[in-house]
């Protein structure tokens, strides 16, 4: 399986938290709360591992594009539409700056269903065994259901 590691930047003394998430981008407030939790985990000095499945495999899709809002008369720059791939990249940078681990694996089965094979750097492809591994090795795990 091809997945991304940042073991060189892991703090061996920091605890590792695993999150399992399944909501797609732009559909639910849960996605915002999820990213707030990831950011807070890094702020608290934890290594973070994410197993994204179902719709959440699109969160790291490299080809997300912002758009303007013609109804409100805003072009793309003015609309400043947030993209989840940028949020993930920002968390990756925060982890590096703090010498923490930040790993993101998409469930390959879910990726294939949706055709979102192109992901940003630092995110990888795996499967349910990776979720088992992440949960088994983590100090604690939180699974966020879709409802």
């Amino acid at each position: 399986m091809n997945h991304s590691h940042s073991k060189d930047s892991h703090s061996k003394e920091s605890k590792t938290l695993t999150f399992a998430f399944m909501d797609p981008p732009f559909e639910s407030e849960r996605t915002v709360t999820f990213f707030r939790l990831l950011d807070t985990a890094l702020e608290k000095g934890a290594n973070v591992r994410i197993f994204a499945y179902e719709g959440a495999v699109a969160l790291a899709f490299a080809r997300q594009q912002p758009h303007g809002n013609s109804v409100h008369g805003r072009d793309s720059n003015a609309e400043n539409h947030p993209l989840t791939r940028d949020w993930i990249a920002a968390l990756q940078q925060k982890a590096v700056a703090r010498e923490l681990g930040f790993e993101w694996i998409n469930c390959g089965l879910c990726v294939d269903e949706r055709g979102v094979n192109e992901v940003i750097a630092g995110c990888g492809r795996g499967g349910p065994p990776d979720l088992w591994r992440y949960a088994s090795e983590a100090f604690n795990t939180l699974t966020i259901g879709t409802r």
Binding site: R30, R36, L37, T40, K44, A46, N140, I144, R147
Partner: protein
């Protein structure tokens, strides 16, 4: 005694299952465990002073720690002064703190 933290995103006004979720939290408390609810998203709505939600109010009487996420409150223009007594205002830091303390953290 175990420590439980529920990230409560659902409320009884829009999700019928929320009443059962509250009841589980209350039962764990009655069994002697330490139980915390962190209200996020629309989960903060029963915490408003005049919201009528019997199952939620019972949690406060049972001694369940209830924290309303400040971000969620501000999104909904709910001021802390408008919350029921015993509801604290906090952030999702409480969730991460619980995870790092080894508590059982569950998303509702």
């Amino acid at each position: 005694m175990s420590h439980y933290l529920f990230v409560q995103s659902q409320d009884t006004f829009t999700e019928t299952r929320a009443a059962g979720q509250y009841q589980l939290a209350g039962q764990l408390r009655e069994a002697g465990h330490d139980v915390t609810l962190v209200l996020v998203q629309n989960g903060v709505t029963p915490a408003r002073r005049h919201a009528q939600c019997r199952h939620f109010d019972q949690l406060l009487q049972q001694g369940v720690h209830v924290i309303a996420d400040d971000f969620s409150l501000r999104q909904r223009e709910i001021d802390s002064s408008e919350l029921k007594d015993s509801v604290a205002v906090g952030t999702v830091e409480a969730v991460i703190d619980a995870m790092l303390a080894g508590h059982k953290v569950i998303w509702n």
